[in-house]
C-alpha cells in the first residue's frame, strides 16, 4: 500500500475537527502548559513559507508536552486592525471589515492544511467588538488610575482625589507629567474643570501634549517613517513638528518594574539588553544653575556631576520654555529663526544628524562650584524630552559638546590627567582627575576632586551636591510614555466623549463602543481624523447610546472621540483573553487565569523587542495591579525563530546591440554564460526544478518571452542561484500551498525543521524536500508492504541492535525537543 498523503491528511484533519481533539479546558488534575504564537496580521498575500516556521516549531513543542501528560493551551487568532486594510479600502472602496474577513478565511484554510494543534474554539480577532470591549475597558481603567511610586503600583484615581482634598500634594510621590505643588485649600477651591486638569497630570491614560509630524496638505499626522527629509513620503508635502493633544499611556511610570522584571524571565541576553537600553535607566543629579545678573535660575540633569569643573557653556533645547526667558532682546531674532527651523526636523533626524548648529542667547549662567560665567546657547542636539531640556556642556569629555565647542570656538577644559583633547573629546570614564578645580582659584575652598579616580570623584560629588543642596539625586529613564492616538479609521474607537475640551468615559456597561460606518476612509476636509466622516457618532449621556451628530446640543448629546487606538492596543492583552474568550462579564475569569497563569513559551520574531514586547509587559503589569493578571510577567520564555531566506534563480539574457533590438530574446544556460555579454534576471523559482528551467512554463510566464530562444547545456537550461531575502520582487517566494499539494503537510513540516536550528536564519531549498518525502515513504514502508498491502508489525522479537537503535533515537529526540534542536531530531529519526 502506497503512502497516500493526500488522503491521510484530509482524513485526519476532518477527524480532529469532528472530535475536537485540540480543544482544552481547565483541568486541575493536570499540570498546565501555555504555548503561544505571536498572532498574525491577516494580509491579502496569505502565508509564505517563512510564516509557518514559528508555528511548526511551537506545534512540535506543544504536541510533545501533551504526550508528556500536560494540559496544553495552544490558541490562535488574528491581529486584524491595521493600516494595510485601511489603505486597500481607500484604493478600492471595499470596507476593511470585508477584506479582513476574506483574508482571515484564506489564512485559516492555509493553516488548517498544515495540521496545527490549535484550539480554534478560543479564536480571537482584535476587530471583533466582543474582543475590543476589553481593550476599551482596560483603557478606561488606566484613565481611572494613577501610579504611586512609593507603593510601586497603580491605584484608583479616587484615592488621589481624596488625598488632594485632605493634604494637597504634600508627601505625594506619584508618576506625573509635571511636579506640582498644591495645597488642600487650593484644591478644594477649584472648579471641576480645574480639578480635572490637575488629575490629568497623574492619570495612567491621559491627554497630553506630544510633538507630532503634521502634514497640512494631507490633513493628517504622519508616523516617523512616513516622513523623509522633512517632507511626506506620499506626495512630498511639507511636514512640521506640531504640538498636539493626544491620548498617551504613562508607560514610564512602570520603567523600574519593566527593568527588574527582565531578571525573572528566560529570554536571550541580546533581547534583554535591547530592552534594558530602551528603558535606559541612568542615575544622576539635577543641579541648579543661577543666571548672571538675574533672578532666573534653571535646572539641568547630568549623570556626571563630577565634571562640573569642566563646564564651559550651557545648551538649551529649542523647544524649552527657558529659551524665551533667557534670550536677550538683541539675540531674539536669530534665536527665533533657529527655533522655527528646528520644528521641521523629527527627533530621529536630530539624533542621527551630526551637523553642528546653534545660536547664543545672550545670557550667562553661573557655575555653582567655580563661579565662572557660562554662555547659554540654543542647539537642536539637545532634546526637550530627556531630562530637563537643558544641559551643562563639558566639551573635553563628550563628543557632541566637543564638536559644538570647536565649531563655535568655545573653551575646552580637560579634567583627566593626560587626556589629549586636541582632536576629539576624551570619553573614557577612567583616569586621575585634574583641574577640579583649577589650581589657585577660590573654588578650592569647596569640593576638590583632584587626584581621585573618576569613580571616586562621581561618588564624592554626588554626596556633596545633596549635602549642600545644590540639586537632588534623580533616577532618569529613557523610556517615554506611549502615544496612544491614531488618526486612522480601522482601529479601536476610544470610549470617550467630550464636554468642551474635557473627556468623559462612557459607562462601562455600555461597552463596547462599536466602530461606526463612514462613506470615506480619509481625513475630513477640515483635517479631522476619518471618524469625522461618520454621521452617527455622538453620545447621548441620558439615554446612554450612540446617536446622530446633528443631535449634539452640549447638554445631553456630546461629540465622541475621533481618534482610534494604535496597533499595539489589541495585542497587549490577547494572551489573557485566550484563557477565557467568551466571557462577557470580564476580560478573564479568576478561575481561568489562576489555572493558566502566564505564557510558558512565546514564539515570534525579534522585531518586536521595543514595541509589542514592552507594551504588553506594561499592560500586563497594570492588569496585575488591578488584580486581573496573577503573574507580573506575561511571557516566561521567548523563542525567536530565524527567517527563511529565499533561494533565487537566475536566467541570463544576452545583451542585444542596437541592430538586434527587434529579435526575440536569447537566454544562455549557466555553464556557457561567460561566452556572452549577459544580464542576469530573476526568474520565478516555481518554474525551476533542481535548478533546471521549465522552458514551456518560462515562455508562458511573460508575454515578451513567448518566442524566447535558448542556448542549452546537455539539452537543459541550467539556472544560476543565490541566497537572498525571500521577497516578491525577487520571484523567490515559495507558497506553502504548492508544497502541501505536491508533497503533503507532514513533508513540509519535517522539511522546515530540517532546514536548520529554529533560531537561525536559513536558506530555503526546494531541492531538499524530496529527501524528507522519501523519509516518510520509508517510514510508511516499515508498516505496510508497498506491493502487497500487508500490515507488517507483528510480535516477532526485537533484536538487541533494533532495541539499541530505537532507544538511542528516543534518548536523542527527548533531549532535542526541549532544546528546540528539531533539525537534529529529524536527522536522528
Amino acid at each position: 500500500m502506497e503512502y497516500n498523503f493526500r488522503e491521510i491528511e484530509k482524513k485526519w484533519q476532518k477527524r480532529w475537527e469532528e472530535q475536537q481533539t485540540y480543544r482544552v479546558v481547565e483541568d486541575t488534575n493536570k499540570k498546565k502548559f501555555y504555548v503561544l504564537n505571536m498572532f498574525p496580521y491577516p494580509s491579502g498575500a496569505g502565508l509564505h513559507v517563512g510564516h509557518p516556521l514559528g508555528y511548526i516549531a511551537s506545534d512540535i513543542f506543544a504536541r510533545h508536552k501533551r504526550l508528556e501528560g500536560y494540559n496544553v493551551l495552544n490558541p490562535m487568532g488574528y491581529d486584524a486592525y491595521g493600516l494595510p486594510a485601511e489603505q486597500y479600502a481607500i484604493q478600492t472602496g471595499q470596507h476593511p471589515a470585508v477584506t479582513t474577513e476574506t483574508n482571515i478565511a484564506r489564512y485559516r484554510e492555509q493553516l488548517d492544511r498544515i495540521g496545527f494543534s490549535f484550539d480554534w474554539s478560543r479564536e480571537v480577532r482584535t476587530c471583533d467588538p466582543t474582543y475590543y470591549k476589553w481593550t476599551q475597558w482596560a483603557f478606561q481603567k488606566m484613565f481611572d488610575s494613577y501610579y504611586d511610586n512609593d507603593q510601586q503600583r497603580a491605584l484608583p484615581i479616587a484615592q488621589l482625589e481624596e488625598r488632594l482634598a485632605k493634604q494637597g500634594t504634600a508627601g505625594l510621590n506619584a508618576a506625573c507629567s509635571e511636579d506640582l505643588n498644591i495645597t488642600a485649600e487650593a484644591w478644594n477651591a477649584m472648579d471641576e474643570h480645574a480639578q480635572q486638569a490637575i488629575l490629568m497630570n497623574y492619570r495612567i491614560a491621559y491627554l497630553g501634549e506630544t510633538m507630532v509630524n503634521w502634514c497640512a496638505e494631507l490633513g493628517t499626522v504622519l508616523a516617523n517613517d512616513e516622513v523623509v527629509d522633512g517632507v511626506s513620503e506620499r506626495g512630498g508635502y511639507p511636514v512640521v513638528q506640531k504640538k498636539m493633544r493626544q491620548w498617551c499611556l504613562r508607560v514610564s511610570a512602570y520603567a523600574q518594574r519593566l527593568l527588574e522584571g527582565l531578571d525573572k524571565v528566560d529570554w536571550t541576553d541580546s533581547l534583554k539588553e535591547t530592552q534594558r537600553n530602551w528603558i535606559g535607566r541612568s542615575e544622576g543629579a539635577e543641579v541648579e544653575f543661577a543666571v548672571k545678573d538675574s533672578d532666573e535660575h534653571f535646572t539641568i540633569f547630568t549623570t556626571r556631576a563630577d565634571t562640573i569643573f569642566g563646564v564651559t557653556f550651557m545648551v538649551l533645547a529649542p523647544e524649552s520654555e527657558l529659551v524665551d526667558r533667557l534670550t536677550t532682546p538683541e539675540q531674539r531674532a536669530e534665536v527665533l529663526a533657529y527655533v522655527e527651523a528646528t520644528k521641521k526636523r523629527t527627533e530621529r533626524e536630530r539624533i542621527a544628524d551630526r551637523k553642528v548648529s546653534g545660536v547664543f542667547t545672550g545670557t550667562y549662567a553661573v557655575n555653582p562650584l567655580t563661579g565662572d560665567a557660562l554662555p547659554i546657547w540654543v542647539s537642536d542636539y539637545v532634546l526637550a524630552g530627556y531630562g530637563t531640556g537643558a544641559i551643562m556642556a563639558v566639551p573635553a569629555h563628550d563628543s557632541r559638546d566637543y564638536a559644538f565647542a570647536r565649531h563655535f570656538s568655545l573653551p575646552i577644559v580637560p579634567l583627566i590627567e593626560g587626556a589629549d583633547v586636541s582632536e576629539q573629546s576624551f570619553d573614557a570614564k577612567e583616569g586621575i582627575v585634574i583641574n577640579s578645580p583649577v589650581a589657585n582659584s577660590a573654588a578650592n575652598e569647596g569640593l576638590v576632586l583632584n587626584g581621585l579616580t573618576v569613580t571616586e570623584a562621581i561618588a564624592k560629588t554626588k554626596e556633596y551636591v545633596s549635602r549642600h543642596n545644590l540639586g537632588r539625586i534623580k533616577v532618569n529613564y529613557r523610556l517615554r510614555d506611549a502615544t496612544f492616538s491614531r488618526q486612522r479609521y480601522w482601529g479601536e474607537p476610544f470610549p470617550v466623549y467630550y464636554k468642551g475640551d474635557m473627556p468623559y468615559m462612557i459607562p462601562q456597561e455600555c461597552l463596547p463602543l462599536e466602530l461606526p460606518e463612514v462613506d470615506n476612509y480619509q481625513p475630513t476636509a477640515m483635517g479631522e481624523p476619518p471618524l469625522g466622516n461618520a454621521k452617527v457618532w455622538a453620545w447621548d449621556e441620558k439615554a446612554c447610546k450612540v446617536v446622530d451628530k446633528n443631535l449634539i446640543d452640549g447638554q445631553q448629546v456630546f461629540p465622541l472621540e475621533l481618534n482610534t487606538m494604535p496597533g499595539f492596543a489589541g495585542s497587549s492583552a490577547y494572551f489573557l483573553r485566550y484563557m477565557d474568550p467568551h466571557n462577557n462579564q470580564a476580560l478573564v475569569s479568576n478561575e481561568a487565569v489562576s489555572y493558566w497563569q502566564n505564557v510558558d513559551l512565546y514564539v515570534g520574531g525579534t522585531e518586536h523587542a521595543t514595541g509589542h514586547l514592552i507594551y504588553s509587559r506594561f499592560w500586563n503589569k497594570f492588569l496585575f495591579d488591578l488584580g486581573v493578571a496573577v503573574n507580573d510577567e506575561p511571557f516566561q520564555k521567548l523563542v525567536n525563530q530565524g527567517m527563511i531566506q529565499g533561494r533565487s534563480n537566475f536566467v541570463y539574457r544576452v545583451q542585444r546591440t542596437e541592430g538586434d533590438a527587434q529579435k526575440a530574446p536569447l537566454f544562455v544556460s549557466l555553464g556557457v554564460k561567460d561566452q556572452y555579454e549577459v544580464t542576469p534576471i530573476h526568474v520565478d523559482v516555481n518554474i525551476v526544478h533542481g535548478d533546471v528551467l521549465d522552458i514551456d512554463a518560462f515562455r508562458a510566464w511573460r508575454p515578451e518571452y513567448k518566442d524566447a530562444e535558448f542556448v542549452l547545456e546537455n539539452d537543459k537550461y541550467v539556472c544560476g542561484w543565490a541566497v537572498e531575502k525571500m521577497s516578491k520582487s525577487m520571484y523567490n517566494v515559495v507558497n506553502p500551498d504548492l508544497i502541501v499539494e505536491n508533497y503533503g503537510a507532514d513533508t513540509l513540516r519535517l522539511y522546515e525543521m530540517f532546514l536548520g536550528p529554529v533560531e537561525q536564519s536559513k536558506p530555503w531549498d526546494t531541492n531538499g524536500i524530496d529527501g524528507c518525502h522519501r523519509f516518510l515513504k520509508k517510514f510508511w514502508g516499515l508498516f505496510y508492504n508497498m506491493r502487497t498491502d500487508e500490515f507488517i508489525p507483528n510480535d516477532a522479537e526485537a533484536t538487541p541492535e533494533q532495541l539499541k537503535s530505537v532507544h538511542k533515537l528516543l534518548k536523542k529526540v527527548s533531549a532535542d525537543i526541549p532544546a528546540f534542536s528539531y533539525n537534529t531530531a529529524v536527522a536522528a529519526l
Binding site: 485526519w12 481533539t21 512540535i60 504536541r63 501528560g69 495540521g115 508489525p793 507483528n794 526485537a798
Partner: protein, 125 residues
C-alpha cells in the same frame, strides 16, 4: 532518518518498537502518525499516547570494533565483546588466522592495545 534507515535495513517488524517510533514521529508529522497509530489497533488519538521513555540498558555498547595493526600498519578489523580484557584481546588477535601471515617468521617485540581503537603488534625479523 538514521533510525528508520537502520530499522529498514534490519527488517524490523517488532510491533512494540514500531509503536514507540510512531509516537516519537507524532509531534513532527502528526497525520501519518495518527494513521499508523490507528492501524496498530489503537482507538484513541496518538496525541494522548504516552511519550516513550528510553531505557539506558538497551544503549550499552555490547561489542567493540578494533583495527589490528602490525608495525603501525592496519591490516584487518576484529570485533570483541565490550567486557574483553586487554589480555584476551591480545590473545584473540594473535590467534586470528588473518594474523598468521604477518607473524610468520617474525619475533613479537610487544603488543599495544589502545581500548576501542587499535591493537598494534610490533614485530622484528
Amino acid at each position: 532518518m538514521i533510525c528508520v534507515n537502520e530499522l529498514s535495513q534490519a527488517h524490523c517488524t517488532n510491533k512494540e518498537l514500531l509503536s514507540k517510533l510512531v509516537v516519537a514521529l507524532a509531534p513532527f508529522a502528526p497525520h501519518i502518525a495518527e494513521e499508523l497509530w490507528a492501524a496498530l489497533g489503537n482507538s484513541q488519538t496518538v496525541c494522548d499516547a504516552q511519550w516513550p521513555a528510553y531505557e539506558e540498558k538497551y544503549l550499552e555498547e555490547t561489542e567493540v570494533q578494533l583495527a589490528i595493526a602490525f608495525n603501525g600498519k592496519a591490516r584487518f578489523q576484529m570485533a570483541f565483546p565490550a567486557t574483553a580484557t586487554n589480555a584476551e584481546i591480545e590473545q584473540a588477535a594473535m590467534a586470528d588466522e588473518r594474523a598468521a601471515k604477518f607473524l610468520e617468521g617474525k619475533q613479537v617485540v610487544k603488543v599495544i592495545v589502545v581500548p576501542k581503537k587499535i591493537v598494534n603488534i610490533v614485530v622484528k625479523g
